[in-house]
């Protein structure tokens, strides 16, 4: 092999490597800026273990509810949402959705007990997790609407008409949002067509 050929080959390989690096860098920037980087974890043992644990916790809550013991049901569910979850500060979609569903259940139970503030707090935490317009987010809004409706009834029974009307307005807004989310879900399922 001549010296000339060696130089030519070196140049060729340099150009190729340059192109590859540029494309890779662009791809990386685009992927990171689209927010996909943190979502590419494979399903692993920790995730499935967390989901299994959540299933068991909800089964415990079922038993507590069957005994009409809403406080115990809330307590076991609260342990799940307070415990560390796989993914740390950037949990997997499944973890976020299951936690959001759990928080919706807590909110519903708290509303039954007349603890409206606790219920609202649970909904707020759930909405911070279920940020996509899915059934999970829609359910949180629906639970909130039902909670505010209960608050409205209670406030009106107490004669606090102004607070009651505010609760009624919040209930209506939450339920409208629940309906809008549901329409979005159906729209996506239909490939962009409105139901």
């Amino acid at each position: 092999m001549t010296k000339f050929a060696a130089h030519v080959l070196t140049g060729v390989m340099f150009v190729g490597a340059l192109g590859a690096c540029r494309a890779t860098a662009e791809s990386t920037v685009a992927r990171e800026s689209s927010g996909c980087a943190e979502q590419t974890g494979a399903v692993d043992v920790a995730l499935v273990a967390f989901l299994s644990k959540a299933r068991a916790v909800h089964a415990q809550a079922d038993l507590a509810e069957a005994d009409a013991d809403a406080a115990r049901a809330v307590a076991v569910l609260d342990e799940l949402v307070r415990a560390p979850a796989p993914g740390g500060e950037q949990p997997a979609s499944e973890v976020r959705e299951v936690l959001a569903d759990t928080l919706a259940r807590i909110a519903e139970l708290e509303a039954q007990r007349g603890r409206f503030d606790a219920g609202r707090a649970a909904v707020r935490r759930g909405l911070a997790l279920a940020v996509e317009r899915t059934h999970y987010r829609g359910r949180l809004h629906e639970v909130l609407g039902a909670l505010e409706k209960r608050a409205f009834d209670e406030l009106r029974a107490r004669g606090d008409e102004e607070a009651a009307l505010a609760a009624k307005a919040r209930s209506a807004a939450a339920l409208r949002e629940a309906v809008a989310i549901q329409e979005d879900v159906i729209e996506r399922a239909l490939g962009g067509k409105r139901p």
Binding site: A23, G35, L47, R96, A128, L144, A174, R188, A189
Partner: protein, 389 residues
């Protein structure tokens, strides 16, 4: 005595000559016409373990069985079936190699009606079967005989066949990187020729790849760029005119993107979309009311928390869950990665979009479905990590 009583017959000592004698006797039986019904029944009992009939034995059968047992006990070969019975029992238990022809005769016996089979026909059949087994001809029983032989005494795989099977199962293995290093390889060019050409070939390949990436890269990345611009979750609080302009540009270039399932805006920027039907969204209501205080510092500014804080009329409960990333594009995430592993993703696809979750209950049923789905994914990922498809 029923056929079951044959279990009482003691097993004689293995006799290496018994097999040949038994086969000879079998041939004689084939040539001699049909078996006596009693002998036939006794043979069936021997072959099938004595559970042939459940009805009480006839007196004649009982006497016949007693005679057979006595003959076997005395080893005097007095019963006409004693030698055959001993041979058959020995043949079933011993590890001695059968003569090929005898083996084939036994195979024929087991799969064909043997009564009245002329010995010459059997011999011809056996010869034909033997040729078929040697690959020189064809015989309807050749496949069955091969399977029987493989089931009873499978041959060891030769190295090449084993390698092929492994390669088929483990797609990651290839000819040039066998872990054993002992696998046969394809004929390769001389080393000197390799040394001469591989730098040129690799250089040309690198050039082609580089040119392709330089030219096609921007085109291939175009959708991702759109996603990158679409992805920011424009909220009421952080939307800027510049971002609005970028967003508008994206919508002009990809007007259907927001309506697609995989569009990040649709998936991850819920609050940026105006409420339909003229109804103000919670954000609008909250802003008009001037509420929204009490939002935890970690979630302040994020669309969901800010929105709900307005709806909840400023309830200042602590938010303990850390704020999630503002962009979630799980709908964009492919099902598997390049290694074939199934990726974490939204569980929404597991549920009927037309059926919203019930306000009350249903969590356990949903989790059943989620756990089953992701457990299956985990199993698939394990297989993938082992290199299995």
């Amino acid at each position: 005595m029923t056929k079951r009583d044959l279990h009482l017959v003691d097993e004689p000592e293995p006799n290496p000559d018994a097999l040949r004698e038994g086969v000879t006797e079998l041939r004689a039986l084939f040539g001699g016409g049909a078996l006596d019904p009693m002998d036939h029944e006794a043979l069936l009992a021997l072959a099938l373990g004595g559970d042939v009939a459940d009805e009480p034995a006839l007196e004649g059968e009982r006497r016949e069985a007693e005679r057979l047992r006595a003959a076997l006990d005395a080893a005097d070969q007095g019963h006409p079936l004693a030698a055959l019975a001993a041979s058959l029992r020995f043949a079933a238990r011993c590890d001695a190699e059968l003569e090929r022809e005898e083996h084939e005769v036994l195979v024929l016996m087991s799969v064909k009606e043997c009564d009245g089979l002329p010995s010459e026909v059997g011999r011809l059949e056996a010869a034909e079967l033997r040729r078929a087994l040697e690959g020189a001809g064809d015989h309807p029983l050749a496949g069955l005989a091969q399977r029987l032989r493989s089931a009873v005494r499978p041959r060891a795989l030769d190295e090449l066949a084993a390698e092929r099977l492994l390669r088929r199962a483990f797609h990651s293995l290839d000819d040039g990187r066998s872990s054993t290093g002992a696998a046969p390889r394809r004929a390769e060019p001389p080393v000197s020729a390799q040394r001469r050409w591989w730098p040129i070939a690799s250089g040309l390949a690198a050039l082609a790849a580089g040119v392709a990436l330089l030219v096609a890269g921007p085109l291939a990345q175009a959708p991702e760029r759109v996603s990158a611009v679409e992805a920011p979750q424009l909220t009421e609080s952080d939307a800027s005119p510049k971002e609005d302009a970028r967003q508008a540009g994206v919508e002009r270039s990809a007007p259907r993107a927001a309506a697609r399932e995989d569009a990040p805006v649709a998936a991850g920027a819920p609050e940026a979309r105006p409420a339909r039907g003229g109804a103000p969204s919670g954000v609008t209501v909250g802003r008009a009311q001037g509420v929204g205080r009490g939002v935890d510092a970690r979630t302040k500014g994020s669309a969901p928390a800010a929105e709900f804080a307005t709806e909840a009329d400023g309830v200042a409960a602590p938010v303990e869950t850390p704020a999630p990333p503002r962009r979630f594009a799980s709908a964009e995430v492919p099902l598997t990665d390049s290694a074939g592993r199934r990726l974490s993703r939204s569980t929404s696809g597991l549920f009927d979009p037309a059926t919203p979750f019930s306000t009350r209950g249903g969590e356990s049923e949903r989790l059943e479905r989620i756990v089953a789905s992701r457990a299956a994914d985990l199993r698939a990922n394990r297989f993938a990590s082992w290199g299995l498809r």
